[in-house]
Amino acid sequence: MTLGAESGPPKIPLLRDPRFRALVIQVALCAALAWIAYELEEEVRANLVRNHLSSGFGFWSQPAGFDISQALIDYSSSASTYGRAFWVGLVNTLVVAAIGIVLATIVGFVAGIAQLSSNWLVARLAAGYVQLIRNIPLLLQLLFWYNAVLKTLPGFRDSIALWGGGYLNNRGLYLPAPDLNGNGLPIFAAFCLGLVGAIVLAMLARRQRLGVGLAAGAGLVLVLGLPFAAFVATGATFAFEYPEMSRFNLRGGLEVLPEFVALLAGLVIYTGAFIAETVRAGLMAVPRGQTEAAQALGLSRLLTLRRVIVPQAMRVIIPPLTSQYLNLTKNSSLAVAIGYPDLVQIFTGTVLNQTGNAVEIVAITMAVYLVISLVTSFAMNIYNARMALAER
């Protein structure tokens, strides 16, 4: 044995070498998974044949032949395909999720701030709301809103008249519909353009360290001014179309399904309670010294909140807030229980029952939710990277 060999790293028996072990474990794991996947695929094929189930995506372009109670894009039971039904369901899911997110954020922030109120009664009430709602399953709440509240409302003859010309009865909610005599689209487009412009302006202002107040003013002009200009340019007239009581039903206006109202109420109240806890935790995470220091610098209460407390609290609030938004979107799938035609109800319910393509349909549904989740968490990671404290 030479001296050179001894000075090298000590020789490890192959079986005790961590690198070799890791390799063996991983190869074994992958092989096992591949084998299971292969066996499963064989079994699925055999079972499909045995049960005379169809497979493949051929059903996508077959006529659907069932009605959907709420279709925001063109859909008819006679002419539309299963693929079209999928899009109707997806739009319905996104609509309830979008409205739910906006309302739940408002409810959550109000309840979260109220929990920290110096008013004892308000703080207790908010805490009671949060504790009560968080500890009751959402499904039970949805069933309660639908079966015990909305279904027991009076019939249309005794509709409850709402302030502003709407009606509420056991067939749903009837609201006045804004009527722009056909010019809604350009005005809406102008609004979107204004919104984008305002956001870009705010980003530029932040980068240039210009006064943010100026950008906010200019943004407001853009958001409100552009649609108004379009309104004048197209010569539209603005009026509300009010629902009217006729002999057998309410006509006109915006008809909202009771299922939608129940689902929205349940989701907003449930998620609002979780957002309230998030907001409370975020506000409490800002040390007291920050408020005191801001006061010592002579900042007013409002400025203290806007420039010191909220920016620091938002850093803590936003990540869990996003996951609450995702939860709300995923929870909207409970619509199945009360018959709101969302993606799961239409696609994994009716379409699956009619076609029997279980594997494809469940896979597509999961993929949709997965894409929504992954896109959101990707955006979240970018935001986190930008907002993270710059440390050494």
Partner: protein
């Protein structure tokens, strides 16, 4: 001594006070009930307005609620007649008679009546296990864990499903129902998600790329989709995946779905705990010659799990609420039995639904709220230990 000092300070002048004046009583409006109200309810004009509005809101909501739930409630009765409006009862509140009548159904489902002692025994065994684990000063909590995660599930299975050689008749799971199913789903979820979650969390932190990738894919996939689709997958696709002769029963499919789902969430909770353990702990264990598993078992997991107990309990609360979703795959859990009983024509009244839901809400609230209070208590207790 004090007198002499006082005299010297006063310098002998009779008009200079030699001792502090006696404290005046605090102003009338800052003590007692009135002072408390002023400080907490009417501190500022805005607060005063808020207080008035809140009181009005409470006055609007609470009395009708109390009247419905207690004062006007019907406590006894044999059928729907008791809960209908009549000359004797112009205002009918909650129909608790309906709940009483169906209480056995809500508890056992359609489990055979002469076999219900088996379910009762299961409830008692569960209570013992939970008590043993949750009572932090209980003797031999290691044995308690062994009992809860090992002995109790196996014994319960034979007790509930049946073991003909011992004279326990087989009771098909389609006859199980009510609280029994809810607790079975919750217990199976809790017992299986813990080890699976720990394995997944370790996998996610592993240095082996294949293990890490597979763990991440599983965790992110399951967390990205709603539980309802996981249950659909389990109930529709599991029978396709397995040979026909092994086709699992409906309850087993749902249990597989719930277990996989809660394992992914548990994995993230455990991962947070693992991340809180300083690297030095691993290095110190290596220096002492401990291998990977022994380091985990003796050094890392005891610390990581201890600090995650509150989060683990909170994810159990979420799991308990999620058990209601087995409803969608045709299993008669507690909520589903309420839904079924609600539709019973013998008890069809305008208040039946509200009564059933109020009862269900009370049961779920008591279970979940006590669990989350306990978690908060443990968190406080841990915080005391870490305080310097």
């Amino acid at each position: 001594m004090a007198d002499a000092q006082a005299v010297s300070v006063a310098g002998g002048f009779a008009y200079v006070r030699g001792e502090p004046a006696p404290a005046l009583p605090p102003p009338f409006a800052s003590t007692g009930f009135l002072g408390w109200c002023r400080a907490n309810l009417f501190g500022t004009p805005f607060n005063a307005v808020l207080t008035v509005l809140t009181v009005l809101l409470l006055a609007w909501v609470v009395p009708p609620l109390v009247r419905f739930l207690l004062i006007d409630a019907v406590w006894t009765g044999a059928d729907r007649q008791a809960c209908l409006e009549s000359a004797a009862h112009p205002n009918v509140g909650a129909c608790w008679a309906f709940v009483r009548e169906h209480l056995a159904y809500f508890t056992y489902g359609s489990y055979p009546i002469d076999g219900r002692w088996r379910v009762d025994l299961f409830f008692i065994m569960l209570a013992v296990g939970i008590g043993w684990l949750l009572w932090l000063d209980a003797p031999r909590r290691d044995l308690g864990a062994l009992y809860f995660f090992g002995i109790f599930p196996i014994v319960s299975f034979f007790l509930l499903y049946g073991l003909p050689p011992l004279g326990l008749e087989v009771v098909d799971t389609s006859r199980w129902g009510g609280m029994l199913i809810t607790l079975v789903v919750a217990v199976v979820g809790i017992v299986t998600s813990m080890p699976l979650g720990i394995l997944l969390a370790l996998g996610r932190r592993s240095r082996m790329p294949a293990v890490k990738t597979l763990s991440v894919i599983f965790i992110e996939f399951v967390r990205g989709v709603p539980l309802i689709t996981v249950l659909f997958m389990a109930s529709v696709m599991l029978p396709l995946f397995l040979p026909q002769e092994y086709s699992p029963d409906k309850l087993v499919r749902a249990l597989v779905g719930v277990s996989l789902f809660s394992a992914a969430y548990m994995a993230e909770v455990v991962r947070a705990g693992l991340q809180a353990i300083p690297k030095g702990q691993w290095e110190a264990a290596s220096a002492l010659g401990l291998g990977y598993w022994r380091t985990l078992h003796l050094v890392v997991l005891p610390q990581a799990l201890r600090i995650t107990i509150p989060n683990i309990l909170n994810s159990y609360v979420a799991l308990f609420k999620d058990t209601t979703l087995v409803f969608f795959v045709g299993i008669f859990d507690f909520l589903k039995t309420i839904e079924t009983a609600r539709a019973n024509p013998l008890w069809a009244t305008p208040v039946t639904s509200a009564s059933g839901y109020a009862f269900a809400a009370l049961v779920y609230f008591v279970c979940c709220y006590s669990m989350s209070r306990y978690a908060a208590g443990v968190e406080r207790r841990l915080a005391v230990g870490d305080r310097r």
